[in-house]
């Protein structure tokens, strides 16, 4: 039995409505408990901000990131955030680290932990390549992991939707999650991945997918219905159509509206829209491009069925990676950049392209502003998850820097002062004076995630929750984030302590221990007769089209590190 008593912590835990109150936290055997014995190890946290461990609910940290690694080996030596990037030699406790946007797996674990983060969700697992994702998960130390499996351009999915077989569709989703050991349903540019197989794209919600006679709207509604039928812990997680195109804010709002009629099967949203920054563009071309954030935020403020994340841009080099194949082709052509393109057989597409966000480019400056506008114009922080869509908008190691943008108008003004007049005319950020406090920041980096993924043991400090805790050397009330943003950045860049399952993994910003994390996946129960009927259909797919057999396709438990199976009961 191991016991720890964290004394006099200044606790900020929105899940319990605790806003920077001084209290003690007791830990026993990896969980938060009511009290501990006198033998408990005592940690003095007086004067230190204490939150649940951070939870990155949308990051590209295992799988496609590897394509980024081999396309840009020069990323290995980039050291733009000293202490959290670049080449670091092996020590007694840590393995060698390299990279910035595409760090090696060990560096991903260490660096998230240094920021006080303890759980990550890989945002895109192609079913066919899931084994590789889990192999990388295994080598990411410390963190708990989970991933979202891609279903948005899948042949079997589109056929069941076209043929109006919702029960078999749900059975297929349950099987797909099991095959990939995934946690939830990701939909990327619904139908677009399949269209890309023919060198095309879909232009909006009602543009039929070639050869399948279904529309993106039908795919979204079909998958949402299956998601709720299976009572999955997460809602569908949607990367909207028309990403990265001027004028796409309309498609985004249209997509959000579509979900008003979806009834969630659990106490959570019925839709999560991801990296909305890339989907909140107004204008009709790159010439008259401008922010669409006010329109999107306006809609979100009046809606109560959805959550979203930012996809905040960080100036400097980034590495874009997405299942949205046609978008990456457009990026590569427009920027004359390197391009990786992959066809995931019957399932999806994918692309990877490096790019550079410059404050001198008016488009990039407006993109930077849009992420912040969304965070600040949406009134309820419980609808917002902070992300950079790492490393699409920028590497996660920049989170502390981005927090200063959210917390300080003065800091924003400093960055904005470098923008061109044209950029300023196309954004509304300079007129926004809202500054987030530590409580709201905790909501966007922890509490929203716990709620939206139905993970009550994560993202909060309730008795019974996992003892994943971040303690930062900064005291709300004694520091004014709006002027002393340098202190905010420093404190969040290296936690005074990070606890993972009750174990001290980071102390004074340095790695102390590197335990293995858990892997969460969802096993949804489906009636046997429906499952059998569905299996017949996919057996045909494997025989006719796949390059692998079904037996080799399934990820087995032995591939998972400390697997945690979340069971759900499908309603049929």
């Amino acid at each position: 039995m191991s016991e720890i008593l964290i004394k006099n912590a200044s606790v900020c835990d929105p899940a319990q409505g605790i806003n920077c109150e001084t209290m003690d936290i007791c830990i026993r055997d990896g969980k938060i408990v009511d009290s501990v014995s006198e033998n408990a190890k005592v940690i003095d946290a007086e004067g230190k901000l204490t939150m649940a461990g951070g939870f990155d609910g949308h990051t590209h940290s295992a799988g496609k990131i590897n394509v980024g690694r081999f396309m840009n080996p020069n990323d290995a030596k980039k050291n733009l955030v000293p202490g959290l990037s670049g080449q670091v030699a092996r020590t007694e406790k840590t393995r060698a680290q390299v990279g910035y946007n595409t760090p090696n797996t060990y560096a991903i674990g260490y660096r998230y932990a240094k920021l006080g983060y303890t759980t990550i969700c890989e945002a895109a697992i192609p079913l066919l390549a899931a084994r590789h994702t889990h192999e990388e998960f295994k080598e990411i130390p410390i963190l708990d992991k989970m991933g979202l499996s891609l279903f948005g351009s899948n042949w079997q999915v589109m056929e069941y939707i076209r043929d109006k077989e919702p029960e078999k569709l749900a059975a297929y989703i349950a099987w797909g999650l099991k095959a990939s050991r995934g946690y939830g349903v990701k939909i990327v540019n619904p139908g677009g991945g399949e269209a890309w197989g023919w060198g095309k794209n879909v232009s909006g919600l009602y543009d039929p997918v070639p050869n399948f006679d279904v529309t993106p709207a039908e795919i979204l509604m079909g998958l949402a219905e299956a998601n709720e039928r299976l009572q999955l812990p997460h809602s569908v997680h949607v990367h909207c159509n028309n990403l990265g195109k001027p004028g796409n804010y309309a498609t985004t709002i249209e997509t959000m509206k579509l979900f008003e009629k979806v009834k969630p099967s659990r106490d959570r949203q019925s839709l999560h829209v991801t990296h909305v920054q890339f989907n909140a563009y107004a204008g009709t071309s790159w010439r008259d491009f401008e922010t669409g954030a006010p329109m999107v935020a306006d809609y979100v403020n009046g809606a109560d069925h959805m959550t979203f994340d930012l996809g905040q841009v960080i100036f400097g080099p980034a590495m874009t990676m997405t299942a949205d194949g046609p978008v990456e082709y457009a990026n590569a052509r427009m920027l004359h950049e390197k391009w990786s393109n992959q066809d995931i057989e019957l399932e999806d597409a994918s692309g990877v392209v490096p790019l550079f966000y410059s404050p001198k480019s008016f488009v990039n400056a407006v993109q930077w502003a849009i992420g912040l506008e969304l965070a600040l114009l949406v009134k309820d922080p419980w609808k917002v998850m902070f992300t950079t869509d790492s490393p699409n908008g920028g590497s996660f190691v920049n989170y502390p820097e981005a927090f200063t943008y959210l917390m300080s108008e003065k800091r924003r003004a400093e960055v904005i002062s470098g923008f061109s007049k044209m950029a300023l005319d196309r954004m509304v950020l300079p007129g926004i004076d809202r500054e987030l406090d530590f409580y709201e920041l905790a909501v966007m980096t922890r509490s929203t995630q716990s709620k939206m993924y139905s993970m009550p043991e994560k993202g909060n400090l309730k008795v019974g929750s996992d003892a994943d805790i971040a303690i930062y050397d900064i005291l709300p009330g004694h520091v004014d984030p709006s002027t002393e943003y340098a202190k905010v950045k420093k404190a969040f860049s290296g936690a005074a302590y990070t606890f993972k399952n009750g174990e001290i993994v980071v102390k004074d910003g340095e790695i102390e221990e590197t335990p293995k994390g858990k892997t969460y996946w969802v096993n949804a129960k489906v009636p046997e007769n429906i499952d059998t009927a569905m299996q017949k259909d996919i057996d045909r797919k494997f025989r006719k089209y796949y390059t692998v057999s079904k037996a080799n396709y399934m990820v087995e438990d032995m591939y998972l590190q400390k697997p945690v199976e979340i069971g759900t009961e499908g309603v049929f």
Binding site: M71, N72, P73, N74, D75, K77, A89
Partner: protein, 253 residues
């Protein structure tokens, strides 16, 4: 003026990475202090003084510091990496990545240089009185901008991929260059006095002058655009590489 003389205590088979061995790190320091600077030796670090005899004469600022490597250092990599000023003289052969990312100062090599000489160099000067291996003045793997400034003079020959991804500065090769010099260039100037094979492929920008024989001129340089005179010599002029919509200039005798 400070002169630091380094000589290997014994020839090494396991490579030494002497990326700390530059005037910026040595200026104003005593022999003892320099000997204590850590360098990588294989997969571990050890003090420079364990591997080299260190002699120091005088003391000076970075600009006034000269480092002399006596003898063969053909298993010592990264000498002069990131140096900003001062001088390094190497009296022997040198290993890979000499002058990597250097920003100023001068490196003189009285011997041969292994690959990646002056890789991603931004300023200063390298004079090689011997032959160079592959990737002189190029970019690190994956980098789209290689040499950005400064000058490299090779008094001997170079192997393949000379000035790959170069986007600034100047390279002069008195001898022959190997395959594909100036590949994927986007600026800068390369002069090859000897021969070259398949020059300037995928060049976007920059100038390449070849005074000797050109083997296998790429088909994308088919159209000759008249002639141009440089320092009294008349060259045939080509623009390209058309495959990438390039505006680079290739001058051939």
């Amino acid at each position: 003026m400070q002169v630091v003389k380094l000589s290997l205590k014994k020839a090494n088979k396991i490579p030494i990475e002497a990326d700390n061995a530059n005037p910026d790190n040595f200026a104003g320091k005593t022999a003892e202090e320099i000997g204590a600077i850590p360098v990588w030796y294989g997969n571990g670090q050890c003090p420079l003084g364990d591997l080299f005899n260190v002699e120091v004469e005088g003391s000076g600022s970075v600009e006034n510091t000269k480092i002399v490597f006596e003898g063969d250092v053909s298993r010592v990599k990264r000498i002069g990496q990131n140096m900003s000023a001062g001088e390094i003289e190497i009296n022997g052969n040198v290993d890979m990545h000499c002058g990597f990312g250097m920003k100023g100062g001068k490196v003189v090599i009285n011997g041969d240089a292994d690959s990646w000489l002056g890789c991603e160099m931004a300023g200063g000067e390298i004079i090689l009185n011997g032959n160079a291996s592959y990737y002189v003045g190029s970019g690190y793997r994956g980098e789209s901008c290689g040499m950005r400034g400064g000058k490299i003079t090779v008094n001997g020959n170079t192997k393949d991929y000379l000035g790959e991804h170069m986007c600034g500065g100047e390279i002069l090769v008195k001898g022959d260059a190997g395959l594909l010099p100036a590949i994927s260039n986007n600026g800068g100037k390369i002069v090859i006095e000897g021969s070259a094979t398949m020059p300037a492929s995928e060049m976007k920008n920059g100038t390449v002058i070849i005074k000797g024989e050109v083997f296998d001129l790429l088909p994308s340089y088919k159209e000759e655009e008249g002639t141009e005179e440089v320092e009294g010599v008349t060259y045939r002029k080509f623009t390209g590489d058309v495959n990438v919509g390039g505006k680079g200039v290739l001058l051939i005798k």
